[in-house]
């Protein structure tokens, strides 16, 4: 049971050190909160853009044209392949008769078909793809072209590429921005915690002279960082929850912000948990970085 006492000691001391550090703790908590707020705003913007892309993507369809000689079994096989493909949201078989009827709504085309005297069209599948697979459309089209009985695959290639490129640019630039924000915050947190360590250097020396083991000397400081990160994340969580509950409907009027009101709570919960984890990791890494300073290592 000793390890429980020891773990309890580390957590208790870590928490008490947050209180003992006073103003410096407040500084770290604010830095973590500001960072996480930026990250969560970025995540929110990404989410809004995802929604926007999703509604665009759903309007874009892919048509898979079968060859005139395609057999019934080839058609059935293709239908089975499409229904099992994770990128495909829905696949509807359009027979050449149905396609012809569709064409004949246009009088000019109707005249041309009459002149031909026979149905020049073939069976086809109309696919709607899942929005999140926008960047895989090209690969899907290439794969389908190789299927037996497939004559051609048609989709708005340029439009798809523009959308998927934009999505990729936004995701990558977002990731880079988030990383820069995180690293900057980490640097500031580490240096603020170094100041807190400097203020307690006499205690650190005393711990060494008392022969305290490494975990007893390092543990509370690392735990202090985790607590500070947690409190920073908690502040942001409270702020976002307040926005969700009270400002969501008001902002909905401005368009694009309807996500605040319509996003399921499950997704908010997942965001909050992510923020808590990121906050705690930020605090832990900051504290670890602070403990790596040369003078600290010499003392501890």
């Amino acid at each position: 049971m000793n390890w429980i006492s020891r773990l309890g000691y580390v957590f208790r001391e870590g928490f008490l050190q947050v209180l003992r550090s006073g103003g410096l703790s407040v500084a770290v908590i604010i830095i973590v909160a500001a960072t996480l707020l930026q990250l969560s705003l970025f995540l929110g913007i990404s989410r809004v853009l995802d929604h926007a892309f999703a509604s665009t993507n759903q309007k874009l369809e892919m048509a898979v044209f079968l060859s005139a000689s395609a057999t019934r079994s080839e058609t059935e096989h293709l239908q089975s392949v499409l229904s099992q493909d994770e990128r495909v949201q829905s696949a509807q078989l359009v027979t050449k008769e149905q396609a012809l009827q569709e064409f004949r709504r246009d009088p000019a085309i109707d005249q041309m078909v009459r002149a031909l005297g026979e149905n020049p069209l073939t069976d086809s599948f109309t696919l709607i793809l899942k929005p999140e697979t926008a960047d895989q459309v090209d690969a899907l089209a290439t794969a389908l072209k190789k299927e037996a009985g497939v004559e051609d695959v048609s989709y708005g290639k340029g439009q798809w590429e523009a959308v998927s490129n934009l999505a990729r640019v936004i995701r990558w630039s977002g990731l880079i921005m988030a990383s820069v924000v995180f690293l900057t915050a980490l640097f500031i947190v580490a240096n603020t915690l170094t100041l807190a360590l400097w203020a307690r250097r006499e205690d650190m020396i005393a711990m060494v002279r008392l022969g305290a083991p490494t975990w007893m000397r390092w543990g509370p400081y690392l735990c202090e960082g985790i607590f500070q990160g947690f409190f920073g994340a908690f502040l942001v969580m409270v702020f976002l929850e307040a926005v969700r509950r009270f400002a969501g409907q008001a902002l909905q009027r401005y368009g694009g912000f309807d996500i605040l009101a319509t996003l399921p709570f499950q997704e908010w919960l997942s965001l909050y948990l992510n923020l808590i984890v990121i906050g705690a990791v930020l605090g832990l890494l900051g504290a670890f970085w602070a403990l790596q300073k040369k003078w600290v290592k010499e003392l501890l």
Binding site: N2, E202, A206, P213
Partner: protein, 231 residues
């Protein structure tokens, strides 16, 4: 722990000798009091014994080991047998005196529930039970000094090195601390402590304590035996 020093030299920051070719042997379980009017020299000598400061030259053996050749983990293990009292070895200012002493026990690996009651019993014996939850800043200098000594003694170290532990400790507290040290010594702890010469001798004589202690004097960087002076 047997402590032996051979040809130890130490200098102050300006290069003046504090220890000048000092050699000695303190047997295991002995109780040695170093009398000196030179505070810097006494502190330098004790810091060497505690393995805190390497001498400028010479060899030190504590329990047949060289404390300056330890790796950090070996030193940590070694420190679990060594108690220290130095004026720059302050108590934790943001913890109560009970927590300060308890921390020492924790650092030495005592995590059982009896640890806290051991601290309380010791504080009670020292007449500080009613102040156990106070911070060091709320205690007098003498009380703080007493707590620092208790912190160094509670885990019954094999070696206790104390730099003027009686500083500011007067009257009843002086007698108590003196008694604690004697009791600790009787359990086998080797004790080396320093004291300012005249004041300490006067106090010891007043307390009427048994003086079966090894007395030495540090003067001009040299150690001299002092049995004849205090008998």
């Amino acid at each position: 722990m047997l402590i032996q020093g051979f040809h130890l030299f130490q200098m102050d920051e300006t290069g003046l000798p504090l220890l000048d070719d000092v050699y000695f042997s303190f047997p295991e379980g002995s109780y040695t009091v170093l009398l000196s009017e030179n505070v810097l020299a006494a502190t330098a000598f004790l810091k060497i014994l505690a393995g805190e400061k390497r001498p400028a030259a010479g060899t030190l053996r504590i329990g047949h080991q060289d404390p300056f050749a330890f790796t950090p983990s070996q030193r940590n293990r070694w420190l679990s047998d060594v108690g220290m009292v130095f004026s720059d070895f302050k108590l934790f200012s943001d913890r109560s005196i009970e927590e300060n002493i308890l921390f020492t026990l924790r650092a030495k690996g005592f995590w059982d529930e009896d640890s806290l009651s051991a601290v309380d019993i010791l504080l009670s014996k020292a007449g500080l039970a009613h102040k156990s939850q106070m911070r060091p800043s709320e205690l007098t200098d003498g009380e703080n000094q007493l707590v620092m000594a208790l912190r160094a003694m509670i885990f019954r170290p094999r070696l206790l090195v104390a730099d003027d532990p009686f500083q500011n400790v007067e009257g009843e507290a002086f007698g108590l601390l003196f008694k604690f040290l004697r009791e600790l010594n009787k359990t086998g702890t080797t004790i080396v402590l320093s004291a300012r010469q005249t004041a300490f001798l006067d106090e010891v004589k007043k307390s009427g304590e048994d003086l079966a202690i090894r007395w030495i004097q540090l003067d001009g960087g040299k150690l001299y035996p002092l049995e004849e002076k205090v008998s």
